[in-house]
């Protein structure tokens, strides 16, 4: 009997084995997320229960989370921080990467290395100067204070420049011949072609900003303006309030899932294409 399999594809048993390993691994990855939602849906007295299925279902933890803190306000604030920070980084990275990739100017390589080199400077080295600067500018305890120091992303410049280097230069020349200025070429030719890369980078930056804990904790100190800080209020010296904590953490995860689902096609595209280059 013949099959359509490529030569040397191996036996059916080996393929089954491979799928089994992959299945177990994905279960391992998904389990903590499942446990988070399971715990958040248990009745308050069952929070420490080890049963796999949360039964009876209860929304009491969510009600308590909403009652004790301004969950929607925090989610909104975190959203603003994540979106503005990601968009700002994308814009600045796009302009810088375009300049580095498409223009010839003196000290181009040196400037690029310096730019990307800032990536190597650890956060711990810049957080105090940034903090002092924000304090002088009067931006402590504000969302602007959280966003502004994150706007310049060496990672973004690096990634976008690599993508732009693989971008056919003849397209840039063609746009110039067709009457576009450099600025207009960027928006009409380069950005549409870079859409997958921009989407992938955008989601990466937005999720990073969304999950950021330490920097907002420094800038916002006493207020619980973003959701990652809000989670603190359920952690206490007398014990943790697991039900509402898990409910809020579950809510904090939702936007990330949604973002991923919406942009997933672009992300997969971007990774596949960067592999083919």
């Amino acid at each position: 009997m013949t099959t359509d399999e490529a030569v040397g594809e191996g036996s059916r048993a080996r393929r089954l084995g491979g799928h089994l390993v992959l299945g177990v691994l994905s279960l391992l990855c998904a389990f903590p997320v499942y446990w988070l939602y399971a715990t958040s849906l248990r009745a308050p007295e069952d929070v420490y229960s080890l049963s796999v299925l949360p039964w009876p279902l209860s929304t009491a933890s969510y009600a308590e989370a909403f009652a004790t803190s301004d969950v929607l306000g925090m989610l909104l604030n975190t959203g603003v921080v994540a979106v503005l920070s990601a968009l700002g980084q994308l814009l600045i990275a796009l302009l810088a990467a375009y300049a580095f990739a498409a223009w010839r100017f003196p000290f181009r390589r040196l400037l690029y290395l310096l730019f990307v080199g800032t990536w190597l400077v650890p956060f711990q080295a810049t957080m105090l100067p940034n903090y002092v600067l924000l304090s002088r500018l009067g931006l402590l305890e504000t969302l602007a204070g959280v966003i502004i120091p994150t706007l310049c992303s060496a990672l973004g410049v690096l990634l976008l420049r690599e993508h732009l280097n693989g971008f056919p230069k003849e397209l840039l020349d063609a746009a110039r011949m067709d009457g576009r200025s450099s600025w207009s070429t960027l928006w009409t030719v380069v950005v549409p072609a870079l859409r997958p890369a921009l989407a992938a980078l955008g989601i990466l930056l937005a999720i990073t900003a969304w999950n950021e804990y330490f920097w907002p904790a420094m800038v916002l100190q006493r207020s619980n303006a973003v959701v990652q800080l809000g989670l603190r209020s359920f952690l206490g010296t007398e014990g943790n309030d697991w039900g509402p904590l898990m409910a809020m953490a579950g809510l904090a995860c939702l936007p990330v899932f949604v973002l991923y689902l919406v942009l997933q096609r672009h992300i997969v595209n971007a990774f596949v294409r960067s592999g083919l280059k």
Binding site: R176, D178, R180
Partner: protein, 369 residues
């Protein structure tokens, strides 16, 4: 179209570090002309075209379009359209939007853009493809879209950078005819870069032959083929290339003759002059097989190539290779000894040192042109 489309290159030079890619090129491209920049790869022809386009600033020299000095004008302000070797179609735009792109850049009203795109698509037989993306097109279709994008602007002149080199042989022949036809219909100035001598010979009104950044010869295809200005020009055009042999011009019985150990060809000039070593050129199709005992080039056939309608006999004369081309069958066999002859008007003489063409001027010794 007005005289605005006349393009003048005045001493254009481009250096990249220590390398001179284009070296002091002077060209006056008349309105309505189809000028082909021809040369081997690396001869500077694309660099020259990019300087005309404004994509590359010249190191020295100036460029004029009509009466205007455009040396320092950015490409978007020059009234020139360019077709790229890779076609450079915008991958995210449909065919219609690719063709309309230059018009949108000029902020033309939408209705006008749509009408112009439709008209251009009609001439190039692209109407059925207007909604497709470039990746859904064949090579020939992409090439036509690239042409359409240039045509739609109604530019002062067209610049084309090896636009046919990515097409297969059959499509290339068809597109060659289409572009030549387009040139006749529009009467537009075209500057066309290629390394393909067939494209140059069939389409050009004039050929500018370039070698190592220098303008080697400028003339109509017939002039460049029939009276090559140098050994380089002689051997670049023609297939197989012109045979070039070392010989000496001698005076024999009051007439000039080219002689070497296996060569004895009368030049058909009644004169006397001191002996002079030369390089003797003769095209394969101008060589004929002489009856035994006649003067000519003595050679031995080393192989016969069948081209279908014609045959090429590869021969060896002393240490030199000589090709003979003629209607099939030539009637020669490998290993056969031949005497080859050519009419005096088909013999070309070149200077040994400079490689430049030598012409006979009565009353003087042969001098470089």
């Amino acid at each position: 179209m007005t005289l605005v489309s006349r393009i003048q290159l005045r001493g254009l030079t481009r250096r990249f570090g220590a390398v001179t890619a284009v070296d002091d090129v002077w060209l006056d491209i008349a309105d309505g002309e189809f000028l082909v920049l021809l040369g081997p790869s690396g001869c500077g022809k694309s660099t020259l075209l990019r300087m005309i386009a404004g994509l590359l600033p010249p190191t020295e020299g100036t460029l004029h379009l009509g009466d205007t000095d455009i040396t320092h004008q950015p490409p978007q302000r020059r009234d020139l359209a360019m077709v790229f070797q890779s076609y450079a179609l915008y991958p995210h735009l449909s065919v219609a939007r690719n063709i309309g792109f230059p018009l949108r850049a000029r902020k033309l009203p939408r209705a006008q853009i749509r009408a112009k795109v439709a008209a251009v698509a009609e001439t190039l037989d692209l109407t059925a493809l207007l909604d497709r993306k470039p990746r859904e097109l064949s090579g020939g279709q992409r090439q036509r879209v690239a042409l359409g994008r240039a045509l739609v602007r109604d530019p002062g002149a067209f610049l084309m950078d090896e636009p046919l080199s990515n097409l297969d042989a059959k499509l290339r022949a068809g597109t060659r005819a289409e572009i030549a036809e387009l040139h006749r219909r529009l009467g537009a100035t075209m500057v066309y870069v290629t390394h393909d001598q067939v494209e140059a010979m069939t389409m050009a009104t004039r050929i500018a032959l370039l070698d190592q950044g220098r303008l080697e010869q400028l003339g109509t295809p017939a002039e460049v083929y029939d009276r090559p200005a140098s050994v380089f020009a002689a051997t670049f055009l023609g297939s197989p290339a012109m045979n070039v042999l070392d010989a000496t011009v001698l005076t024999v019985d009051g007439t000039l003759s080219a002689r070497a150990e296996d060569i004895d060809l009368p030049l058909g000039i009644d004169a006397t002059m001191p002996d002079r070593p030369v390089r003797l050129g003769v095209r394969p199709e101008h060589l004929t097989i002489a009856p035994p005992g006649e003067p000519g080039i003595r050679a031995v056939v080393t192989g016969v190539e069948n081209l279908g309608s014609e045959e090429v006999a590869q021969c060896r004369s002393g240490t030199a290779r000589v090709a003979v081309r003629g209607t099939r069958p030539l009637g020669v066999r490998t290993g056969e000894a031949l005497t080859l002859t050519a009419r005096p008007e088909h013999l070309h003489l070149f200077d040994v040192g400079s490689g430049r063409r030598l012409t006979w001027q009565p009353g003087a010794v042969p001098a470089a042109v």
